[in-house]
Amino acid sequence: MDNIIEVRHLSKWFGENEILRDIDFTVKRGEVVCIIGASGSGKSTLLRCINLLEKPSGGEIIYHGKNILDNKHDVYAYRSKLGMVFQQFNLFNNYNVLKNCTIGQMKVLHRSKEEAEEVAMKFLQVVGMDQYINAKPSQLSGGQKQRVAIARAMSMEPDVLMFDEPTSALDPEMVGEVLNVMQGLAKSGLTMLVVTHEMGFASEVADRVVFMDKGVIAEEGTPKEIFNNPKQDRTKEFLRRILRENKAE
């Protein structure tokens, strides 16, 4: 399997605070990687650094063999190849569901309206939102918004689809519909990078689980290794805490 993204010695500072320290991390084609860890461990920042929503303070991000932190690299073309699904959905409020999925294709990939709509409809069907193409984001529930956001990202036909805690802002009864869609996408062979608090999803769907703590990758391995047989004490402590919280719910 070839590496799509290779992160080398990545660091990120916010003023005096070191958020990420010397991160080495790769994503291979067709792989589903889940990043877990406590709040403030830097997992969202890592994701945002990878698509340059945050500018890394140091290190390299190699994409198809080229370092995209080079000044000469076209940031916008690179971003269009990385899909991003946000915790807060961030659908474009001024467009209906269909236009949300076509605007990027038309203005960034320069596809015709017809082609863009065809592609958008394909992915809206995948997420089960094709009946709602006329709706404005404000008229949808959280789960529906997130499914449209997934279709919007998929419509750009990205190399990697990244999820930044996609279910954390949802009401509990809507978490399932979004996780189902994500599970379907994972089965279809899409490369996915998922920051999540859903341990069930991570253990079932991920090929590899990365546990982050205090800005470093503390441990990574298959879901079995991480969940059943963690090596590090801090991984054990985190999992114990998470399981206790889940039981309390």
Partner: protein, 253 residues
């Protein structure tokens, strides 16, 4: 006596009032539209994120300095004084004999621009950061993000404030009489010169102003409603294939 004069002023001089009202509306409509465009452009430039490139950063700083000076100067001086300075100044210093109508539109536009620049900046700041991030994440640059995602939302949100500017412009074009633009106030003054009556002509003028501002307010409210679109959406009934939800697919497995 007053009632008789009131009627006489209307009957004898209605074409002058009408022409004046026409000029007033013309200047304020064009001035507001151009001014709003100036405001949108300046607001967009002022919210460009700082670049890493020091040359670009320096250039942007100079442009921002000029724009700040523009906003401060035109917000900080009365329009009636600006009219005098610009109209007579251009003649004296640059030897440009401006068309009066052009001068009027020019003055109203740059004034409105100075105010709307701040309104637009406020509008852009108030748009959720997530909208910018989502646009950036699908590969849009600052220009495309602004044009297709942020400004359409900004325009909707600042429309009431722009309407305010429009109403203010309808009233404030009256100061252009100092450079003899033949708007409503100027025409009314001419009527008083002909009739030697002051109360009745200006009573007529105030009614005409009021009718214009109220009508404009109503039209803008209508446009706002139009822009919001229908409150409900239509669900497209799909075929069997399309109705399948991920949940249903999951159940079948």
């Amino acid at each position: 006596m007053t009632g008789k004069w009131f009627i006489k002023v209307i009957v004898d001089y209605w074409p002058m009032f009408l022409r004046g009202a026409g000029v007033t509306l013309y200047i304020s409509i064009i001035g507001t539209i151009i001014g709003a465009m100036i405001g949108l452009i300046i607001g967009t430039i002022r919210t460009i994120p700082t670049s890493d490139n020091s040359l670009k950063r320096g250039f942007l700083r100079i442009v921002n300095g000029i724009l700040t000076a523009y906003v401060e100067i035109f917000r900080g001086t009365p329009m009636i004084v600006q009219s005098m300075v610009i109209y007579y100044g251009s003649l004296l210093v640059f030897n440009i004999d401006m068309d009066k109508m052009f001068a009027g539109i020019f003055i109203v536009s740059i004034n409105t621009g100075a105010y709307t620049a701040e309104i637009v900046r406020g509008g852009i700041i108030s748009i959720d950061k997530g909208q910018f991030e989502a646009a950036h994440a699908i590969g849009m640059n600052h220009g495309k993000t602004m044009l297709y995602v942020v400004l359409p939302q900004v325009i909707r949100n600042i429309l009431p404030a722009i309407g305010n500017e429009f109403v203010i412009n309808i009233k404030d074009t009256s100061v252009l009489n100092v450079i003899s633009v033949t708007e409503l106030y100027y025409q009314t003054s001419s009527v008083t010169g002909n009739t030697f009556r002051f109360f009745e002509p200006f009573l007529v003028a105030s009614i005409v102003y009021l009718v214009m501002t109220v009508t404009v307010t109503r039209i803008l409210r209508f446009i706002e409603k139009k822009m919001d679109g229908p409150e409900n959406f239509i669900v497209i009934p799909g075929n069997q294939m399309q109705v399948a939800r991920p949940e249903d697919v999951a159940k079948k497995r």
